[in-house]
Amino acid sequence: MDNLTKELLILLENNNRLTTEQIGSMLKASPEEIAERIDQLEKEQIIVRYNTVINWEKAQVHRPTALIEVNITPQRGSGYDKVAERIYRFPQVKSLYLVSGTYDLCVIVEGDTMQEISNFVAEHLACLEEVRGTKTNFIMRSYKKDGVIFNDNTTDKRLVISL
């Protein structure tokens, strides 16, 4: 990947509301070229989606989230992938990672209520025949997400003018 594309991706990852004109200025490329590259990156699914990081706690919208440790039995032929797919197809699953360590899959699940998450684990996840065990950790507070510190009140403390 060339430098321009990499810089473009890093800019977009942090702020996808920059206009192609602004990005073009910053990277010394024309807005058309930036737009073209973004198109291409979208087509190649390197840019997958434009997300917004929301502090739901602050919005006072209750969104219980759990980090579930899952041990599974890998399948002949497909390893972990097939089981992973059976799990990530559930819309409740926000993220899913295969991890090294004492368990296999790290499943992040979001629901409207804790009960809903409990039901999902009991009725769907734990019953899968490849799943050997689960351990559900409810998230109690979010401090930082995707590189953003929540409730970060580091305002600009510099003098207004200095030489």
């Binding site: 810089e7 702020n15 920059l18 602004q22 580091t154 003098l159 207004v160 003018i161 200095s162 030489l163």
Partner: protein, 391 residues
């Protein structure tokens, strides 16, 4: 009523006050003001550096250090400076100072006797001339021009040099212009310094902040080490302005005398700052490079923005300032700055704050968020319209 003035040193009383006081007072109380007038990074010191300082405090590092600075720090500084082909002996050729600012002070105090002339590129950072005056020297401005991208030229130096000239200040990358000196530019100046037997004080505080070009130190050129004092520090490269740690490196004979002044006036730079600086040198490269990449993008953004608004604005290759010409508006620097602040609440610094050659220019710092830069550009565009000078 007692006349206080008669008790004070006339040289101090006669020093000019800061050229930005009135704008500072106005801008500080102004709601919704966007400042492009800040002369320091907009990053907070990287966490690993702050964290190293906490640890040192927990471990009880709250005492004096040797006058010339912690040995480990001086060693690390010498190792670091090799990237600019500067080679110093950490035991005899390094003095850790309270910011590069103290370095300017002790270097001039050490070198200047009454009546000696100090050649100072104009425009430049504000402290060289007043300190020269305080130590009894004569500050001699050397004009630099936009057409040369504010590089210092031998032609201009030859116009002002006299047998009394003793010191040449080399403040590059330059605040306020963002101009830098290429290797060939430096070679010419070095020859000039040798020819006229000048000592060079090379203030390289912005050395890490160059874009599309490498920084070169005049002290690394042949036969220049013996006549150069290199000043640098941690403020700009590592976003550590408030820590007040810098250093002066040069021939042992100079450093020994400078260390005496430093010893009697400040004893040593604060140990917390020195501990943090050591961490910065050991592990700070990665965070620094992210900051540099970000400055460069913002430089591109603001230069492009100013040009689109109709300003003449060369693309600076160093520091985090642009220095656009405002001559087309028909306003003086002071008028432009004051009217922009009152009408559109954007604070910038008049070029004249940095010397008479700054007339007709303003200094804009792009150490500000992209959103603020964009908003400032919009407001400046509206300001130009209001005075009928839009493109």
């Amino acid at each position: 009523m007692m006349n206080a003035e008669k008790y004070m040193n006339q040289t101090v009383i006669d020093l000019p006050p800061s050229g930005i006081r009135k704008f500072f007072d106005l801008a500080s109380t102004m709601e919704g003001c966007i400042s492009l007038g800040v002369g320091e990074p907009d990053f907070v010191t990287p966490w690993h550096i702050r964290e190293a300082c906490f640890y040192s405090l927990e471990e009880g590092y709250t005492m004096y250090t040797p006058n010339s600075g912690m040995p480990e720090l001086r060693e690390a500084i010498c190792q670091y400076l090799q990237k600019y082909n500067l080679h110093f002996d950490w035991e005899k050729e390094v003095l850790v100072t309270v910011g590069a600012s103290e370095g300017i002070d002790v270097a001039l105090r050490t070198l200047i006797s009454s009546g000696d002339e100090v050649l100072i590129p104009d425009p430049s950072y504000i402290s060289y001339a007043p300190i020269t005056t305080l130590v009894g020297g004569v500050a001699v401005p050397v004009n630099t021009y936009e057409k040369d991208e504010f590089r210092l030229t031998v032609a201009e130096l030859e116009k002002v040099v006299t047998p009394k000239s003793k010191v040449l200040i080399m403040p590059y990358p330059n605040n306020p212009t963002g101009g830098i000196m290429g290797k060939e530019d430096l070679e010419a100046v070095a020859q000039f310094a040798i020819k006229h037997d000048l000592i060079v004080i090379s203030d390289e505080i912005y050395s890490e902040l160059t874009y599309d070009a490498d920084h070169h130190s005049i002290g690394a050129l042949p036969n220049m080490k013996e006549r150069t004092i290199v000043l640098n520090g941690f403020s700009k490269a590592f976003a550590m302005t408030g820590w007040r740690v810098g250093y002066a490196c040069g021939p042992a004979s100079f450093i020994a005398q400078m260390t005496k002044i430093h010893q009697y006036t400040t004893l040593c730079a604060p140990i917390m700052g020195q501990m943090a600086a050591l961490e910065a040198l050991k592990n700070g490269r990665q965070e620094m490079e992210k900051m540099i990449a970000s400055y460069k993008q913002r430089r591109n953004l603001i230069v492009d923005g100013f040009r689109k608004l109709g300003f003449d604005c060369f693309e600076p290759k160093g520091a985090f300032y642009i220095f656009p010409s405002i001559k087309f508006t028909g306003l003086t620097s002071d008028e432009f700055v004051e009217q922009l602040l009152m009408k559109e609440k954007v604070a910038v610094v008049p070029g004249t704050a940095f010397g008479p050659s700054g007339e007709g220019f303003i200094r804009c710092s792009y150490a500000a968020s992209v959103n603020n830069l964009n908003e400032a550009l919009r407001r400046i565009g509206r300001f130009l319209e209001s005075i009928g000078k839009n493109k």
